[in-house]
C-alpha cells in the first residue's frame, strides 16, 4: 500500500475537474459539513424535480479526497430516484468502513470504487465521507424520505 494507490487517477481527475459543482437555484434542503481537524468544508443542497428524482448541488473547499468524493457523489446521485441514491450512499459508507478489504461494485458505485484505498487510511475516511454525510443531512432537512415506497418531498 502506498500513496499512489490512495490517489488513484480517477480521484485526481475528479479533484482537478469536479463534476456538477454548482449550487441549486431552489434547494429544499441544505447541509454544511466541516471536518474540524483539517478544515475541509462542503455544502450540499438537494431538491426533488418534477419526476421525483433528486437534484444535487454542492460547493466546498478542502483536500483532494473530500472534493473528489463530492464530485463522485454528484455524478452518482444527481437525477436518480432518492431510494437509489440512498443505496449508493450506503454502499459508499460501507466501502469506507471496509478497512480497504472490500471489492466494491462498480455498477453501484461508479467512480466511487476508486476510494477503496482511502479506507486504509483512518485519518482520511472522514474526508471521503464528508459530502455523503452532508447529502444525508440535506435530505433529512428537505424531508426527502429515502427509504419508504414512493419517496416524496
Amino acid at each position: 500500500m502506498d500513496v499512489e494507490s490512495l490517489y488513484q487517477d480517477i480521484i485526481l481527475d475528479h479533484y482537478k475537474h469536479p463534476r456538477g459543482r454548482v449550487l441549486l437555484a431552489e434547494p429544499s434542503g441544505e447541509s454544511h459539513q466541516v471536518n474540524p481537524t483539517c478544515g475541509d468544508e462542503v455544502t450540499v443542497q438537494v431538491a426533488l424535480d418534477a419526476d421525483g428524482h433528486i437534484r444535487v448541488g454542492y460547493e466546498g473547499q478542502g483536500c483532494s479526497i473530500s472534493q473528489a468524493s463530492a464530485s463522485v457523489m454528484s455524478e452518482m446521485v444527481d437525477g436518480v430516484d432518492p431510494r437509489e441514491a440512498e443505496s449508493v450512499r450506503r454502499a459508499f459508507v460501507e466501502l469506507m468502513h471496509s478497512k480497504g478489504a472490500a471489492e466494491p461494485d462498480e455498477d453501484v458505485l461508479g467512480d466511487g470504487i476508486a476510494f477503496v484505498g482511502v479506507a486504509k487510511y483512518p485519518a482520511r475516511i472522514k474526508c471521503a465521507l464528508l459530502p455523503w454525510m452532508a447529502l444525508h443531512d440535506a435530505e433529512v432537512r428537505a424531508g426527502i424520505d429515502t427509504n419508504a415506497e414512493g419517496a416524496q418531498a
Binding site: T37, C63, C127
Partner: protein
C-alpha cells in the same frame, strides 16, 4: 560558546525513532510541537516509581505512602526550579488546557459567587459588563475558547491584539487594546502555528500598567528555550509535560504566590480542602487547592526525569540547536517554488514550528505524501483556526523539530514536498 547537541547520541535514547513506518521507511519525526517523543530515562523513571514506590500521596501512614509523597513533591521542586519558580507556586493539572481553564474559571467562579453575595473574593477576579479580557489573534484554542466562555458568563468583552502580515503581534495596538477596562491579558509566548516568539514581557508590563492580571501560554517555549517565569513578568504561566519529553496526562500552572492565593478553586472535592462541613467547606492553600482528587504522581516523576534530561543537555544548547534547524527549514522550504511560509520568514524571535502552504495542494494531501516517505508532520488548523483565517488559508502543513532532529530530516521533508508537487502536477 554554547555546546552543540550530539544528535546521534541523543537519538539512541529514543527507541521510537529507530522504528520504520509505511513500507519500511525510517521514521522522520517532525511533529514535536504536537507532542515530543520520550527518552528511556523518562520511561524508566515512571516504571521504577510503579515498581518500587507506588502508593497514594499525602495520606496513609505507611512507608510506601511516604516514599510516593516524597517522589511527587521532589518532582514538583525540580520542575519548579527548571523555570525559576518555587515548589509551592507550581500546580499540577491534567494538561495545559486544564491549566488555562483553571485560570479562566477563577474569574467566572469569583464573578458568580460575587453575584450571590460572596464577600471574601478578590476584586481582581470579579468581572462584569464593561470589563475586558485581552488575548491575541495567534492563540491556540485553549487560550481563546475558555475566555470566550468567561465573557459569555460575566458580560465582559473579549478583545485581541492583531497580527501583522509577517506573523508578528501588532504592537501598535497594544496601548489601545489593553486599557483601563482590562482585567486580564492572556498571551502565547511562542505560537504553535506561526512559530513567533512574542515579547511577552512588554505585554505583561502593559497589563500591569492598567492593573490587569497577566497570563502566559508557554506550551511551546518551555520545552525549547530557557524560560524564567519571573523574567516573563507574568502572574500565571501554563504549559504541558508531554511537549518537553515528559508523559501525557500532566499539565503545569505556575503562579505568583499572592495571585494563586487569591484565586478560588476550579475542580473541587478531595485533597483540596482545609475543613468540610455539611453546609460549606474551606480550602487548602495553593498548590493543593487546585489539585483535587488523586494526582498524576507517576507522570510528575516522569516529567522530573525529563527536566533532568533537558538540564543535562542545557537549555541554551537546546535553543541554539533549534535555532539552526529553524534557519535551515525557513531557508530550504522558503526557497521552494509555489510554497508560502505562514509566519515570520526571518529567523529572529522564532521558534521551530514552520507552517507553510503549497499552491494548488491542500495540506492534508501534502501531509499524506510526506507520511508515505516516513515523514510525520501536522496538517490542519493546529487548533488556531482564527489565525488561519487571518492569513486566508484553510489549514497549513507544519514541520516542527526538537533535540533529536537534524538537517537531514528537513531535507527528507523538502524532497517530499517537491514529490507531492510533481505528482499532483502543480
Amino acid at each position: 560558546m554554547t555546546p552543540t547537541l550530539d544528535v546521534a547520541r541523543i537519538r539512541k535514547d529514543f527507541p521510537i525513532l529507530s522504528r520504520t513506518v509505511r513500507n519500511e521507511r525510517p521514521l522522520v519525526y517532525l511533529d514535536s510541537a504536537a507532542t515530543s517523543q520520550k527518552p528511556l530515562a523518562v520511561l524508566d523513571a515512571e516504571r521504577e516509581f510503579y515498581e518500587t514506590a507506588n502508593a497514594a500521596v499525602h495520606r496513609g501512614a505507611h512507608q510506601l505512602a511516604e516514599e510516593a509523597t516524597d517522589a511527587y513533591e521532589s518532582a514538583r521542586a525540580r520542575i519548579a526550579a527548571f523555570v525559576g519558580g518555587r515548589p509551592d507556586d507550581l500546580v499540577f493539572t491534567k494538561n495545559a488546557t486544564e491549566s488555562l481553564n483553571l485560570v479562566a474559571y477563577a474569574f467566572s467562579n469569583a464573578s458568580a459567587k460575587a453575584a450571590h453575595g460572596g464577600d471574601d473574593l478578590d476584586p481582581r477576579f470579579i468581572l462584569s459588563p464593561g470589563d475586558s479580557i485581552v488575548v491575541t489573534q495567534m492563540e491556540h484554542h485553549a487560550n481563546l475558547v475558555p475566555w470566550q466562555e468567561v465573557c459569555a458568563k460575566t458580560g465582559a468583552t473579549l478583545r485581541w491584539i492583531g497580527v501583522t502580515d509577517d506573523g508578528r503581534l501588532d504592537l501598535d495596538e497594544l496601548d489601545s487594546v489593553i486599557d483601563e477596562t482590562t482585567k486580564v491579558v492572556s498571551v502565547v509566548h511562542q505560537s504553535n502555528i506561526l512559530g513567533t516568539v512574542n515579547p511577552v514581557r512588554l505585554v505583561m508590563d502593559r497589563a500591569h500598567q492598567v492593573d490587569a492580571l497577566g497570563v502566559v501560554d508557554a506550551c511551546q517555549s518551555v520545552p525549547h528555550q530557557p524560560v524564567d517565569v519571573n523574567a516573563l513578568g507574568a502572574d500565571l504561566v501554563a504549559w504541558s509535560a508531554h511537549k518537553m519529553l515528559g508523559p501525557t496526562g500532566l499539565g503545569l500552572l505556575w503562579g505568583r504566590q499572592e495571585v494563586l492565593s487569591a484565586m478560588p478553586p476550579f475542580i473541587t472535592g478531595g485533597s483540596m480542602i482545609e475543613t468540610v462541613f455539611m453546609e460549606h467547606s474551606t480550602y487548602a492553600a495553593p498548590p493543593k487547592r487546585f489539585e483535587a482528587g488523586t494526582p498524576m504522581v507517576a507522570q510528575a516523576v516522569g516529567l522530573s526525569a525529563a527536566v533532568q534530561y533537558l538540564e543535562d543537555l542545557g537549555m541554551d544548547a537546546v535553543a541554539a540547536h533549534e535555532h539552526r534547524l529553524t534557519g535551515a527549514a525557513l531557508e530550504r522550504i522558503g526557497a521552494l517554488r509555489g510554497v508560502r511560509i505562514i509566519g515570520p520568514r526571518e529567523n529572529v524571535d522564532r521558534g521551530s514550528a514552520v507552517s507553510f502552504v503549497v499552491d494548488g495542494l491542500h495540506p492534508h494531501d501534502v501531509g499524506q505524501f510526506l507520511d508515505d516517505r516516513g515523514v510525520a508532520v501536522r496538517v490542519g488548523h493546529h487548533c488556531a483556526w482564527p489565525t488561519c483565517r487571518r492569513y486566508s488559508v484553510p489549514a497549513t502543513t507544519r514541520l516542527s523539530t526538537y533535540i533529536y532532529n537534524d538537517e537531514s530530516d528537513i531535507d527528507v521533508a523538502v524532497e517530499g514536498i517537491v514529490a507531492a508537487q510533481k505528482f499532483f502536477g502543480v
